[in-house]
């Protein structure tokens, strides 16, 4: 039914339900790559990943292998990882330093960091041909648009479209909240990426990120286990409190379903969403108080209160970025196929903040986001099961009906209703945006 290229998507997304093919059909996946991932702004990386000239990282935008590289002039370029000669990838590694120029490993064509042709070896063989520096087709193609917001580099492979700031809209708070929490106003990447593959469609990950109902069901085992140990440690501790990392885990069990309803989701155009609420990471322990002092010195009390008062648990930047700004965690979602998705997981240091604050972010990174995760393992299991079930003939629709009809819409923003934090409003909003992208 979906063989024709201009398939009609209008019937696939209803306000409270979605056709299963949206998740499982290979042709829809190809069209998604074309109309969403290879069109909108996609996160490439943080500029601190490429501090020196020639430093590069390779990154996938939709189906396109790309290179993010720092030029000698300091500019960060995003290029297609493809030699214009015979199509060889220029960089075969995930990161490195290419030196003063790129040199193709196949026939030694060389290119500047901005993709311009530097030299073709045995030039005489090309005399009188169309190949040479005057021909722009002999340059490495670059992403149509590249923009940097507070160190976070995005590229769009479409020359037309909204600016990065317009696209991000209010979800830009993900980057502001992260950077503002640094006394120096900026963050620095910790040079380690945990990469985990899930056997499901990419959208299942995005939907799960802001699904406030799932933690109590899915992460109960870890929450309970951590709470058991936390209680024992608290009894032994002189101050009566276990390390905060136990709380990060036990919250999955101790924050009950009705408490999750106290949080709120705020949904924006283009599919972005914020989940408010906070796991209580602003306690009055000596580490936090020392950090507060440095922050007040840097910003003044009024601005400081405003910064640490930002009430965010999670920001989803559609279609592939999940940011937990209060803990400086970032997950980039790279679809590999209709049923295979890679997540690249990073964390950041708040420049100028005491080491103890970094340790907090690190604890979350190791316990929740590492390949030995105590949390995401059970999500991955559900993603796989979900994709398997959706691919079956057991039903045609996916229900997104929780608290449907009770969303509050105002100026293009959709909020979950009061005491309805577990509403499926984020999924409804994502699918609404999806349909718009797919049927421009």
């Amino acid at each position: 039914m979906l063989r024709e290229r201009n398939a009609d998507f209008s019937g696939m997304v209803e306000p409270d339900r979605v056709r299963k093919e949206v998740y499982t059909d290979r042709q829809i996946f190809e069209l998604e790559m074309e109309r969403i991932h290879e069109t909108v702004w996609i996160y490439c990386g943080h500029e601190s990943q490429v501090p020196k000239a020639g430093d590069y990282v390779t990154v996938q935008i939709g189906r396109q292998p790309m290179i993010m590289v720092r030029g000698a002039n300091g500019k960060v370029n995003v290029l297609y990882n493809r030699c214009p000669h015979r199509g060889n990838m220029l960089c075969g590694d995930r990161n490195g330093n290419t030196g003063d120029f790129f040199r193709c490993s196949y026939h030694a064509w060389t290119f500047h960091h901005d993709g311009k042709l530097k030299n073709i070896p045995m030039k005489a063989a090309y005399e009188g041909t169309r190949y040479g520096k005057d021909n722009p087709d002999c340059n490495v193609k670059h992403a149509a648009r590249v923009q940097n917001y507070r160190g976070f580099v995005f590229a769009s492979l479409a020359s037309e479209g909204p600016s990065l700031k317009t696209f991000l809209g209010k979800s830009i708070v993900a980057f502001d909240d992260m950077c503002d929490r640094a006394p120096a106003g900026e963050v620095e990447v910790v040079p380690n990426c945990f990469r985990v593959i899930q056997h499901s469609n990419w959208k299942l990950f995005l939907e799960n990120q802001l699904d406030a109902l799932h933690p109590s069901v899915v992460h109960q085992s870890t929450g309970r286990a951590a709470h058991e140990v936390e209680k024992i440690l608290a009894k032994k501790a002189s101050g009566g409190a276990a390390p905060l990392s136990y709380h990060m885990l036990s919250a999955f069990a101790t924050v009950t379903i009705d408490k999750w309803d106290d949080f709120q989701t705020i949904n924006y155009p283009y599919g972005h969403c914020i989940l408010t609420g906070y796991m209580g990471l602003r306690p009055q322990d000596p580490d936090t108080l020392a950090y507060d002092k440095v922050m007040i010195k840097a910003y003044g009390r009024k601005r400081f209160e405003k910064i640490v008062g930002v009430n965010i648990h999670h920001v989803l930047v559609y279609p592939g970025l999940s940011v937990q700004s209060p803990l400086q965690q970032l997950r980039a979602v790279r679809p590999l196929g209709v049923d295979r998705t890679l997540t690249e997981i990073w964390h950041f240091r708040l420049k100028g903040a005491p080491e103890a604050i970094y340790r907090r972010s690190l604890a979350y990174y190791n316990l929740v986001n590492s390949p030995a995760t105590l949390i995401n393992a059970d999500d991955l299991e559900n993603f796989w099961k979900c994709h398997q079930g959706l691919a079956s003939d057991g039903g045609d629709w996916v229900s997104l009906g929780r608290h449907h009809g009770r969303d509050i819409e105002k100026n293009g923003e959709v909020s979950s209703g009061p005491k309805m934090g577990t509403s499926e409003a984020p999924m409804r909003n994502q699918m609404k945006a999806w349909a718009k992208y797919m049927q421009p």
């Binding site: 085992s221 309970r224 440690l233 030995a372 995760t373 105590l374 393992a377």
Partner: protein, 158 residues
């Protein structure tokens, strides 16, 4: 030669406890301040203050154990077995009190649902001499697999 034999027997027992899912007994192999550490790559020098795949003291090990034993640890519901082979055991340092530093190699096959995965790499053990055997002060695990993406995650210690 006796030390070599004793150390080998101890390392075999360590992996046997993992393969037979005797988590509590496995945790009890560690000293009270013992650490299980799997760095993101071989260049890491210390487990503290840096990213780690595992960096667990006995308290965190207990969290992991209780979680795996919980009936709702969904990801561990399906059939799941591991099989370690440990070899190339080499004592690198030996103190007068009997404490040793040991390197070895391992290969672990893991079955989960219908999938088989292989993990291989090296162990570095700091072992404290006890009355009858040894206790683990540090178990460092450098897996050859760390550079690749994780197709599904690790749920218990390797």
């Amino acid at each position: 030669m006796k030390e070599q034999h004793d150390v080998e027997q101890f390392l075999y027992r360590q992996s046997e406890l993992l393969d037979t899912k005797q988590w509590k007994k496995w945790i009890d192999l560690f000293t009270p301040d013992g650490i299980y550490w799997m760095p993101p790559n071989a260049s890491y020098k210390t487990w503290e203050g840096q990213p780690a795949i595992f960096a667990e003291d006995r308290n965190l090990m207990t969290v992991r154990m209780l979680r795996v034993l919980h009936p709702d640890a969904w990801s561990q519901r399906p059939l799941w077995e591991t099989n370690h082979v440990v070899s190339n055991v080499s004592i690198k340092k030996e103190k007068k009190n009997g404490d040793v530093e040991v390197t070895s190699r391992f290969h672990m096959m893991e079955l989960r649902r219908d999938d088989v995965r292989h993990f291989a790499g090296s162990y570095f053990h700091k072992l404290k001499k006890t009355k009858k055997s040894y206790a683990i002060q540090l178990q460092r695990v450098d897996m050859a697999n760390v550079q690749a993406a994780y197709d599904y995650v690790l749920q218990v210690w390797v």
